[in-house]
Amino acid sequence: MKNRLRVLRAEREWSQAELAVQLDVSRQAVNAIETGKHDPSLPLAFRIARLFDMPIEDIFDDEHD
């Protein structure tokens, strides 16, 4: 699943480690989600959406792999 996590993180000038702390996951998890190697769980997707104050579908795109 494609996502805009890397772009959104870069816009806020956060490192992967900083984002990981805010989402309560590991830096490896953030990296795996950004590179499309791991689809986040629904609770994590909601945490991401709340953190960036955006709807989930504006961050994740399930129609284009």
């Binding site: 480690a17 900083e18 990981a20 702390v21 309560d24 996951v25 590991s26 830096r27 490896q28 998890a29 795996a32 989600i33 499309g36 190697k37 791991h38 689809d39 986040p40 769980s41 994590l44």
Partner: protein
């Protein structure tokens, strides 16, 4: 350059990753010792088995450190389970089928030559490590 202290979760994930690497290395050394018992590795084979067991226990205890490590663990264990079941059920079946076919043509009866139970552990662990590495490189889906 300042560095932020690692969170408990990050430390557990790192422990899991280091244990995965060490378990894989111990597995390779253990397999080498099994097939080359006269080598130096053959002498330390019990130590390698202990190292393998200890690192797998660490992996098991830290498998839920993070949802990503949990996904990696799930990929490894589910693939290893399927491979083990297929190996233990299908290999003796295939051998019996081929032996029966050969016996019908040559008239020579053949017993079971492939000791599947002996190879089950290396196959199970090998498939777990391969699937785990594959998931790290290509994704957990």
């Amino acid at each position: 350059m300042s560095s932020t202290p690692l969170s408990q979760r990050e430390r557990r994930v790192r422990r899991h990753n280091i244990a995965s690497l060490l378990a894989f290395l111990a597995y390779l050394a253990f397999i080498a010792a099994k097939y080359f018992p006269a080598s130096f590795l053959g002498d330390i084979s019990p130590l390698l088995a202990l190292a393998l067991l200890a690192t797998i226990i660490v992996m098991f205890r830290t498998r839920n450190a993070d949802e990503y490590t949990a996904a990696l663990w799930r990929v490894g264990t589910s693939i290893a389970f399927v491979i083990t079941v297929v190996f233990l059920l299908m290999v003796p079946f295939a051998e019996g089928f081929v032996d029966g076919f050969m016996e019908a043509h040559t008239g020579e009866a053949r017993g079971q030559d492939l000791p599947t139970s002996t190879h089950a552990l290396p196959i199970t662990l090998g498939s777990f490590f391969l699937a785990n590495a594959w998931a790290r490189l290509r994704g957990t889906m």
